[in-house]
């Protein structure tokens, strides 16, 4: 579904990605793990068009999307749930969800999707008129996920969804991500909590300093001595 080959990009003179290649198949849950600053977020930002690549190709359902506008990429079916949740703090919960459906022209189905998000996340329904900035971290994460789903994506990319959340909320968030995959969407997950990500995913890529250094099934990487030592605490 998503094929990335030799992707390179950088901020100014600093190269952030030095030739990343990865594949995400239809219906899979693929994880990118690695340390802070390894290039995981930049990979997602390049896929969604916020960062323009210097070299390499990104194919989504055989269409080359490298360097395309974020709006075009979203309309092809890739949603990006950004790091730090990034809800619009001074907009209501309902307006945040409306922004997720910004490009859609099918108001009747959009209405159904609101109802589905509200029934999946009853806390959001209770707070639909409240400013998103007043929600708790966990509620903001639910809103960010709900907002990403409002575009009816085929591929959803999550960037550090567990960051800064209480352990019970982390568990809940990861369960939701798994449910999204089980519901038929494809998921690309960036997660610092390597163990949780590897347990959840079908296969994973380990990224270090802008390169893919290992790939494999979740259990394979959990068993890998290098991964154990560097990312799973020995």
């Amino acid at each position: 579904m998503l094929e990335i080959r030799d992707l390179e990009c950088g901020y100014g003179p600093v190269a952030a990605l030095k030739g990343i290649s990865l594949d995400v198949g239809e219906g899979e849950l693929v994880a990118l793990i690695g340390a802070n600053g390894a290039g995981k977020s930049t990979t997602l930002r390049t896929i969604s068009g916020l960062v323009k690549p210097r070299a390499g190709t990104i194919r989504f359902r055989r269409e080359d999307i490298a360097g395309a506008d974020p709006a075009r990429i979203l309309s092809l079916g890739i949603a990006h749930c950004p790091e730090g949740r990034r809800v619009f703090p001074y907009m209501s919960v309902a307006d945040n969800l409306a922004m997720g459906a910004y490009l859609r022209k099918d108001p009747i189905q959009v209405r159904e999707d609101y109802d589905r998000v509200y029934s999946d996340f009853p806390r959001l329904a209770e707070r639909r008129h409240q400013s998103a900035g007043t929600l708790s971290g966990g509620e903001q994460q639910m809103l960010a996920i709900g907002r990403a789903l409002m575009s009816r994506p085929k591929l959803v990319m999550f960037d550090e969804p567990s960051l800064g959340l209480a352990p019970t909320i982390v568990e809940q968030t990861l369960r939701i991500i798994k449910a999204i995959r089980d519901g038929g969407a494809t998921v690309l997950l960036v997660e610092q909590n390597a163990f949780a990500a590897l347990e959840l995913c079908d296969h994973a890529y380990l990224i270090e300093t802008g390169r893919v250094v290992k790939r494999g099934l979740g259990p394979e990487l959990i068993a890998d001595p290098h991964v154990r030592e560097a990312y799973l605490g020995g």
Binding site: L50, D69, A79, P82, R86, P89, Y90
Partner: protein
Amino acid sequence: MDQFLQHLVNAMVLGGAYALLGIGLTLIFGIMNVVNFTHGALYTFGAYAMYLASTALGMNFFLALPFAIVAGLALGALLELTLLRPLRGADIDTTMLVMIGAGIILQSGTLWIFGGVAKAIPSPFPDAPLQFAGVSISWLRLFVLLAAAALIALAYAMINGTRLGRAMRATFQDADTAALMGVNVRLIYTATFALGSSFAAAAGALLGPVYVVFPQMGDLAAVKAFAIVILGGLGSIAGATIGGFVLALAEEFGAGYVSSGYRDAMGFLIIIAVLLMKPTGLFARAERVG
């Protein structure tokens, strides 16, 4: 008491136009982070568009007003596309200098085309003022107040109730994430600048017939717009609305009860006082743009 009410009524009329001026400036700053030094020139432009439409083009007064507003919208879009879009990401000093230059060109162009002599815009209203409870207000001023109120209401409805307004608020709060939602951020910038410009032009077109029209009229208007925006807090539309009326009240009552010579100094006094006491503006809250 009658005098007090008279000043209050005058201040409301002036305040409506000031609020428009302030909303335009604060919208552009809040969403684009651009300090718009052409705002005064756009105010002048609106007044001259009104003058041209109702004299040389022979338009009806009530048609000339929307004409002037749309002309301001178009000039704003043109300025954004030709000057600001290429400078996006450039140094803030560069942008400021270019905008100051554009303002000078617009003002000199006006002087060149229309000459330095002040012009009057013919008013379709009867000269005899409306008398009510010892207060007199000319029909023209009443119309200015109502038109300004309608435009302010329109601005609120647009920002809070439309898809474009929602995209503008989202872009203001987080431009990157707005782009991820599919918002064409560059288009939002153009729309914002055009809209902000049209508000300055509307203020000029409304106050032009009340006073006279001359090429430097925008200089003082720009200072007042900055005073209003500083008063209301940068980026706050509600603050700009309140700020516009507060400045008008200060001017009217300052002129009426202190000294009429200090009328236009009120704006400067307000800027100094606010910056000394509350640099974020009196109405600066977390909630901005909407």
